[in-house]
Every structure is written in structure tokens, then in C-alpha cells.
Symmetry: C2
Subunit: 138 residues, 2 copies
DNA sequence: GCCTAATAGAAAATAATTGTCAATAGAAAA
DNA sequence: TTTTCTATTGACAATTATTTTCTATTAGGC
């Protein structure tokens, strides 16, 4: 996995540093993390890492399209590794964020017809209650 | 329209002040505004208004569900008066934000089936090029 | 191993948002 | 109306969030 991360960083033209590897590994492990969550996670393994470095790397990685920001209502932005297009679901109870593949072709078509825009990108966030919280709740 | 705004504020249990009326009027006129845009617009008519007051009112109005925050990729959040559920389109060229009504029932159903979440809310942002910029561009 | 440009970390600088507090202004009651 | 009470305003300070600056260090090519 180390090699994996190294390769990944190189693919995106990012110099391989221990700090960056750490960031990527945490994102692989956790999926979606805010700046603060990321910083805390990493400090457990890498106490010397500074917050400014997290910010700088987040930007460097976004510039290379290696990671993406996910803006979610009511909470701080999360970051994730870039993957195939997908939507996000957030549980309003426990705050968990998950990916979900949806077929957005028809809704894009609908939007294009109604608006006359040429759409090239979507950000779809669904909020609700996850199956785990649903069972606990009833 | 004055009376209109006054009534609106009262409906949402918000004390009617000139500052608030100004905020609401600008949102009615412009549709979607960031904090800064709102502040600038209002200062033209109401130079004494302070930025802190804008923030405080934005929060008061969000608490009463009178306005909503719209989080858009790459740009600062915009605020809009609460209306019927709708999606948003942003033009990547000129930055214009518009509402669009979409039928999201089937996509919600798809998400619920794939994720086992119970979805109660969606935030759908579509990015692309608006018809005006499309014509200019070619 | 050596060289060069990029990166990390500490700290300061800037930007964004929120809190404090005295003065004032809505709105309800007298 | 006038009075009273509480919420709001605006100036300012305080926080919080993010970015920049600067120097020492390090990655990666030769």
C-alpha cells in the first residue's frame, strides 16, 4: 500500500513526502474528512505535522485534481480522493458521509431542457437517515 | 412591496427593522447573493449597516427557515429566500446562479434503494454554461 | 553523493465569523 | 399616545479559519 500511495502521488505529479503519504492514507482509510479531522488523524501518527502543511497540500492536491472538496449543508467541507463520478449521502443523525452511484443522465437532460444550459458537472448531496440510525431510532 | 416585506418578516417571527427589510429586498431582487455581495448591495442604500449585522441577520433568518444557504463548488456560499424545493445551476463562465425545478423523485428512489438510507432532502447543483455564454463563446 | 527546486514547519499576516456591550428602536401593553 | 420591555444595531474586540513569509530541509534527477 505504501508503494501504491507513492505511485499514486507520482501519477498526479506530486512530490512524494511522508506528510503527503499520510494524508492520502487517511483519506483512503476514512473516505471523507474535513480539514480538522484530517489534521487530527494525521497528528496521531505524525505529531510534527503543521496545519499549514495540511492546507498547502490540500490545495496542491486539488490543483492536480487528485482530491475533491465536498460541500455539505450545515457542516464543514469534506475532502475525498477523486474517483468516478458519484453522489453523496449524509446521515443527519450520525454525520456519516457515503458515496452512491446514481445514473444522473436523465436528470441532467431534464435540467438542460428546462434551462438551456450545457451541463458538464453535477454535485448531488442527499441528506437523510442511514440504515443503522434507522434501526436504532424506531 | 414594503408591506409585503414587512408581512413576510412577521410571518417568520422576525422583528421588522429597516436593515432586515433591506436584506430581504436585495435577496428578492437578486435571487442569490453571498454575504459580501449582500453587504455591498445594502451599503449602497444603507451605508451605516455593519457587516456583523448582516451575519447576525443571516443567522436569525436561517434559524427561522426564512432563507437558505446554497453551497456551490469553488465559490463562496450564496443565500436565497426559502422557496419550493428546487435545484441550482451555476454558469462556469459568468458565475450566474439560477433555480431550476427538477423532478427528483426517481433519483431519490434510486438513492434510497442503493443505499438503504431514508432520504428527506436533496441539494442538487448543476454546473455548466448558460445560454448567453454559449452564444458568445462559439 | 551532489545540485536544484519544491516542501515543511514556525510564526506572522490576513480573512472570515462571532461575541460583547451600551445605546436605540420595535412592538405590545397601559 | 406614552410607557415599558426586550431584541437589535453598530463599534469594536475576540475568535476562528486560512494564507503567506521565510528559512532549513528534503525529494528526485543527474
Amino acid at each position: 500500500m505504501d508503494t501504491n500511495v507513492t505511485q499514486l502521488l507520482k501519477t498526479y505529479e506530486l512530490k512524494v513526502t511522508p506528510q503527503r503519504m499520510c494524508i492520502v492514507e487517511e483519506l483512503m482509510k476514512n473516505g471523507h474528512l474535513s480539514i480538522d479531522e484530517l489534521y487530527e488523524k494525521i497528528r496521531e501518527r505524525f505529531p510534527s505535522l503543521s496545519l499549514a502543511t495540511v492546507y498547502k497540500n490540500i490545495h496542491a492536491m486539488m490543483d492536480k485534481n487528485f482530491i475533491k472538496e465536498v460541500k455539505i449543508p450545515n457542516v464543514k467541507s469534506k475532502f475525498e480522493l477523486t474517483k468516478n463520478d458519484h453522489a453523496h449521502i449524509i446521515c443527519e443523525k450520525c454525520g456519516k458521509v457515503e458515496d452512491v452511484d446514481v445514473n444522473s443522465l436523465s436528470i441532467i437532460k431534464e435540467v438542460e431542457e428546462k434551462s438551456s444550459y450545457k451541463i458538464d458537472h453535477t454535485d448531488l448531496i442527499f441528506s437523510g437517515i442511514c440504515p443503522e440510525c434507522l434501526t436504532k431510532e424506531s
